[in-house]
Symmetry: C2
Subunit: 260 residues, 2 copies
Amino acid sequence: MRICLIGAGNLATRLGITLSEKGHQIVQVWSRTIKSATELASKLGCEYTTDLTSIASQTDIYIIAVTDAAIPTILAKGSWGSTLVVHTAGSIPMDILAPWCLNYGVFYPFQTFTAEKKIDFDTIPVCLEASTPQNLEVLSELARSVSGDIKFLDSDQRQQIHLAAVFVCNFVNHFYAIGEELLREKGIGFEILKPLILETASKAILQSPGSSQTGPAVRDDKIIIDKHLTLLNTHPDLKNLYALISERIIQTHKNYNGIF
Amino acid sequence: MRICLIGAGNLATRLGITLSEKGHQIVQVWSRTIKSATELASKLGCEYTTDLTSIASQTDIYIIAVTDAAIPTILAKGSWGSTLVVHTAGSIPMDILAPWCLNYGVFYPFQTFTAEKKIDFDTIPVCLEASTPQNLEVLSELARSVSGDIKFLDSDQRQQIHLAAVFVCNFVNHFYAIGEELLREKGIGFEILKPLILETASKAILQSPGSSQTGPAVRDDKIIIDKHLTLLNTHPDLKNLYALISERIIQTHKNYNGIF
């Protein structure tokens, strides 16, 4: 397929490189700044522009991969004709495209992207939604060319997986950072946490995390919990978080056992 | 070495099996209940007892692997002679052993253990502390026979890594469970989160998590944050957690950029 990429951030970069490797033709990159536009265009060996009124018309699809807040302006400024237009955002309903495009949909690769880190696209769930069955067929074909894991989710479900992702990815990463911070205070390197981080993730892949909780809270071990809360006296924000999450684990676990 | 195992829970089980595989001789297992004592003893092909006054005296080391709360009673009831005694607890200072034992220390494998899940002990950091350099030498030798990663930490540092572990393992797993719960409400299977969970963990191994935060909070993307808070109106506890952690990410990130 001929593809015009609107955006040049982490997702646009990973997506552009992968689509290109899979034999698609990236015809043009648009970005707000000339720097990022040329950078990505040179990686992809394609044209670039910073002017939405001069985006390529000879394309099979426009893929909008920009921050959520920029989507409405981009939609209003471009002229899309009858070409298929998709956005790649978890929390933006598909209908945002309706006033501006005849054929539209959503192409949401459900993964965290870092510009520097190469990622195997093949295992990334790609969540699709489209305005017509024909458009969904086109998106499915495109998605299948880069990933073995296609999901059909509506806007409501997509919004929910984005919310879940904030907990299991963004907040989890912040908790890794808290661990790093706590160790640094005692002169201990972050490496010591790595086997534990990997085992915790790999356990969640094999067993339902809801039913394989470990630690002081699930045992309702008040001695350890109190000891940890005392250690956190100098970090009131962490102490508060520790107490809230421990309480939620205690309550959830009671529910699992049918006590409540 | 000849080893007497005091305890028959997840850690005692994994440790006993691993030590036995590495050629050590488990001479006896003690457990509070006859059921768990016989279960583990049969796995290890050794004697068992539920009576602390009749634990084996012909051993090179006693390894106490029980819940923290049970340690003081066990220490008071056993007769340890001059044999080396270690506990395996993150948050219990080594000195708890001093009134009861002549030679003592701590042998703390820093990992999450589930009785059912086999684990490669070789990559687990084993944190050691001992009452004398000679005892530390004995513990180092024992630790090196099962793991390639030996750390020497004092009681204060060990307590801190245990606290960090609650954040990066127990709380992280609870957040996986929250993800599972949020998806279930919209009829979506947990599988869709797995590639994200693995990538988030593997990214933290390669890059400092403190400096590779992603998501709406680090971008201070108030539109998405407000949308997610609204979605969580029916879960006041999760809404509260979402707001607190997002705020902490926003503040931490500002600090990283030197704005505060």
